[in-house]
């Protein structure tokens, strides 16, 4: 008995240790997490960033890194190995968690880190063959010795950093999740590219298009989805003629009718992915040299998707942004050339309906015979759960997913399983790093063209300008040579005429050099006019941004950096200018309240710019969304996916034929006219806005309603930047909207002294406890750009090039 109090106290103390050392749900183990020495406190930066001289095992020769006032590293190495070794080391040092998270996601391994909630996403990553594709890519990389050397050097650099870490130095997110980093491998770099391909080139509407065709018929398709030449302002100007014959492919006599299916849940394609780029020739600029602009629009997160860096070694001196997990610069410039990218929405992903011999799925029917499948066992480790084993069946098309039957379909019994095989560019062997390796070293147009031949996916519009005065744009990537309309609908997996029968030869890819109009540009719209001999896709971004850029560039002369900066921040809405006047005409004012009339007046007076301090953009956008929903909501109220018309197509239809049949609400007895619908939707939009933002006041400013938030990668509270008062819109050149928008704005002025400016919404460091975590967001929000400090040789300790106050650089000297 005499030891009872002692025992009670001991047990309580031990229990306390256990409780505080354990992760409860999403709450990190509080003992280690709150420990001032090892916990999150250790991540709060309190030392000034300072000069440093030391050994770095793994480098071959001495390396110097200069960090500028935004903490952008400028790496000066003696050889390629050390250059990419350092890039790996620095990226890991600043962004390790992001690098790991992206590649775990690509590999279908998130549940290993997070738990059962992500098993479905992981299973889908496996069924889409992400690792399969990355392995193919890596095999291709190994065939090219210089590329393989870079991959290995980069990995070694990442690992050198990881190995230098004590657990208290793990980035904050590791402590929150109670995990540890694992070694980096070249496969992870390949996986990162597959992740980009999934983000940018996994768009497809095969299933919804098939369903729409079956449900509404071909006339509806023609009205809404076939190319509309009136809206065309393609990337390659209409005047461009094509002096080659296309390579013929055989097409089936009648189009296969697939079963109407619900499909598998698509990967959530983030809204607002798109980009702008352009280059103007020296004839149109004040300096007489070309200027290039680019802003890739992506999902905005903290840390940012980009990492700014200068890489200098014998034979290369390049500056720009790189992706976390991959060597080289993706968008940037060197002393002779500059380049930028926007996404190409070509159809490089197709689904095939597969006929298996039996449930064993060992053989499938193709080209008149049973062909063997291969199987890949996928083991998905689950944190706090049992490992899940999934067998993925592969046909020659690609990996197979089981899909659910749509409700309207009567031919098939509810028990029948339907299988779709995925044919996707991401499964082809490729070596994109080689393209960037060469682009970073390109001296002229020919070097640029040669570099691009190594680039396959995700296809990009590569804009180019050189100090020699050339401007150019190649719609670049590897494109299947398809018959007209191939892969719009779900394809017949048994008929070889539906297979990809070959590739568009690289030299036939749409491209243009030094056009007469004095500029090249792209904004994800159609690549070409209809006379281009090949079929690429029927889904492109609405014409609005592209036309605005072309309109502005056509009328600009004596162009300076400031003009380009203004264009990057241009908030004009072609969309509003096209449809709002009609909407204002349609709306019946006699039933509106005085306040509603006042709101309407503000729309009448609006100049169609989505500027932050205006209220009209908020009203217009809400009104348009409700109108779209009222017009199409009744027709689209079904349990299987249908393809919805693009914004610009619906606008065109409404203007040409305001009372065509979809306008009427099918669920009511009476026939609604466009006047009725415009009035109903205006009132509803007014009510919605009043409910969300209170009575008509400054709170309705577009700057707030735009809802510009930049969350942390894991959506963790407190680690994001929210409610950023901003202008812009999905249809504006400045495509800021919600949590998407320009992820990197860059302007490069070519010339004997190359000059460049840029900004991205974030900061060099991925550590939420660093002042450099979000330090550029305010400049990004207001449209300011930083002059990029591009050094031709290792800088002196003070930067005197600008002639202003010397700014100190932090210098790291590293030796083997």
């Amino acid at each position: 008995m005499k030891y009872l109090p002692f025992s009670l106290s001991l047990v309580t103390g031990l229990a306390l240790i256990w409780v505080l050392n354990t992760r409860w749900g999403n709450i990190p183990p509080m003992g280690p997490f709150m420990d001032p020495d090892e916990g999150f406190w250790a991540q709060a930066e309190r030392q000034p960033f300072s000069n440093f001289t030391d050994q770095l095992p793994g480098v071959i020769d001495s390396v110097e890194v200069y960090f500028d006032d935004r903490r952008v590293p400028h790496v000066f190495a003696q050889n390629d190995h050390d250059l990419y070794y350092m890039q790996g080391y620095l990226q890991a040092r600043d962004r390790l968690f992001q690098m790991e998270l992206q590649t775990y996601d690509a590999a279908g391994r998130l549940s290993e880190l997070i738990g059962p909630s992500l098993v479905e996403r992981d299973r889908q990553s496996r069924r889409w063959g992400m690792v399969f594709g990355a392995e193919h890519a890596l095999a291709e990389v190994r065939k090219h010795e210089p590329s393989w050397t870079i991959f290995k050097a980069y990995s070694a650099g990442v690992n050198a950093y990881i190995n230098s870490l004590e657990s208290e130095q793990y980035p904050l997110e590791y402590k929150l999740l109670d995990i540890a980093p694992e070694p980096w491998t070249p496969l992870k770099t390949a996986l990162l590219h597959k992740n980009m391909t999934r983000t940018l080139a996994a768009g497809n509407s095969d299933i919804s298009h098939s369903n729409t065709l079956a449900y509404f018929g071909p006339e509806f398709i023609e009205q809404f989805f076939d190319k509309d030449h009136n809206l065309l302002d393609p990337i390659i100007p209409i005047s461009r003629s094509w002096d080659f014959e296309r390579i013929r492919v055989r097409r089936p006599d009648t189009l296969f009718v697939p079963k109407v299916v619900r499909g598998v849940q698509p990967f959530p394609v983030p809204e607002g992915i798109g980009s702008n780029n352009w280059a103007v020739s020296g004839d149109k600029t004040a300096s007489g040299y070309p200027i290039l602009g680019n802003d890739p629009h992506l999902r905005l997160t903290l840390p940012s998707i980009w990492y700014e860096i200068q890489l200098c070694a014998p034979g290369v001196n390049t500056y720009g942004v790189s992706l976390l997990g991959a060597p080289g610069v993706v968008i940037g410039f060197n002393e002779q050339v500059a380049w930028g990218v926007t996404n190409v929405a070509s159809d490089v992903l197709d689904w095939y309906e597969i006929r298996f011999e039996n449930e064993g799925k060992d053989r499938y029917w193709h080209d008149g015979e049973w062909k063997p499948t291969t199987k890949r066992i996928e083991e998905i480790e689950v944190r706090g759960g049992e490992t899940m084993v999934d067998t993925v069946v592969y046909t020659h098309h690609g990996p197979v997913s089981e899909v659910k039957i749509g409700d309207m379909h009567e031919q098939v019994g509810a028990n029948e399983s339907i299988y779709h095989a995925l044919r996707w560019i991401a499964h082809e062997p490729s070596n994109e790093i080689r393209a960037f390796y060469q682009l970073n070293r390109a001296k002229n147009y020919d070097d640029y063209v040669d570099a691009l031949t190594h680039y396959q996916a995700p296809a990009q519009n590569f804009v180019f300008a050189s100090v020699e005065g050339d401007i150019a744009l190649w719609v670049n990537g590897r494109f299947p040579n398809k018959w007209d309309g191939q892969g719009r609908t779900v394809s017949d997996g048994t008929d070889p005429l539906y297979d990809w029968q070959g590739w568009i030869p690289r030299e036939h890819n749409p491209h243009i050099k030094n056009p007469e109009r004095g500029f090249v540009s792209s904004a994800n719209q159609e690549s070409t006019a209809p006379d281009y001999p090949y079929y690429m896709d029927d889904v492109y971004a609405p014409f609005e941004r592209g036309r605005r850029i072309n309109d502005r560039l056509s009328e600009m002369y004596e162009i300076t950096k400031d003009d380009m900066q203004a264009l990057l921040m241009d908030n004009y809405s072609y969309h509003a200018s096209e449809i709002l006047p009609s909407m204002l005409e349609w709306v019946k004012t006699d039933s509106l309240s005085p306040i509603q009339i006042e709101v309407l007046d503000s729309l009448q007076a609006w100049n169609f710019f989505n500027n932050a301090p205006y209220r009209a953009p908020s009203v217009f956008r809400s009104w348009w969304i409700v109108l779209y929903e009222i017009i199409l909501g009744d027709e689209y109220d079904v349990n299987f996916p249908l393809r919805a018309p693009a914004r610009d197509r619906l606008v065109q239809q409404l203007k040409d034929n305001p009372n065509f049949w979809v306008v009427d609400d099918q669920t009511t007895q009476r026939v609604e006219t466009i006047q009725d619908q415009a009035t109903i939707s205006f009132k509803k939009a007014f009510d919605d806005l009043t409910e969300s933002y209170g009575p008509w006041s400054d709170d309705w400013d577009w700057g707030w309603v735009i809802n510009n938030n930049i969350p942390h990668l894991t959506q963790t509270n407190g680690l994001g930047a929210l409610n950023l008062y901003s202008g812009g819109g999905t249809e504006s050149v400045n495509a800021t909207h919600g949590s998407s928008g320009p992820s990197w704005r860059m302007i490069v002025e070519l010339g004997p002294e190359i000059k460049a400016w840029g900004v991205y919404p974030g900061g060099a460091s991925g550590n939420p406890g660093s002042p450099n975590y979000d330090s550029m967001i305010e400049s990004w929000r207001t449209g300011e750009l930083y002059e990029l400090r591009f050094y031709k040789e290792p800088p002196l300790d003070y930067d005197i090039s600008s002639g202003q106050e010397p700014k100190s650089l932090v210098k790291w000297s590293l030796r083997p």
Binding site: M1, K2, Y3, P5, F6, S9, L10, T12, G13, L16, I17, L20, N21, M30, G31, P32, M34, D35, P36, D37, E38, G39, F40, W41, Q43, A44, E45, R46, L172, T716, N717, G718, L719, P768, G769, S770, P771, Y773
Partner: protein, 115 residues
């Protein structure tokens, strides 16, 4: 008593720099055995010693880093004020040390009892 208090606080601080978080229990275990006080006082001395060590350490980081991270973590945990985060940190360390001190003080007293 003040000496014991300071010994626990200082030792906990330094041990924590080299050992994991639970090492702040060790000074309490060691010095608590030499503490001939009521259980409440033993707990209190152990608690406040590490409350002080961790609290001051966290407060220093908070100030030296201009609260750059504490503000975010406070928001993450839904705390309205960031200073609460420092108190929670201090309490966690304090609780552990309090029980350690109490446990070993009870042990020494039990061994000295006859029955």
């Amino acid at each position: 008593m003040i000496i014991l208090f300071l010994l626990i606080a200082l030792n906990a601080f330094f041990l924590n720099l080299v050992l994991p978080w639970w090492s702040v229990a060790l000074p309490g275990l060691f010095f608590g055995y030499r503490m001939h006080v009521t259980p409440i006082r033993a707990f209190g001395i152990g608690f406040f010693a590490v409350f002080l060590a961790w609290g001051v350490h966290a407060l220093y980081i908070h100030i030296a880093s201009a609260g750059v991270l504490s503000v975010r973590i406070a928001e993450l945990f839904g705390l309205k004020q960031d200073w609460i985060l420092i108190v929670i940190t201090a309490v966690i360390g304090g609780m552990l040390s309090g029980f350690a001190t109490l446990t070993s003080s009870l042990l020494s007293q039990s061994r000295n009892k006859k029955y």
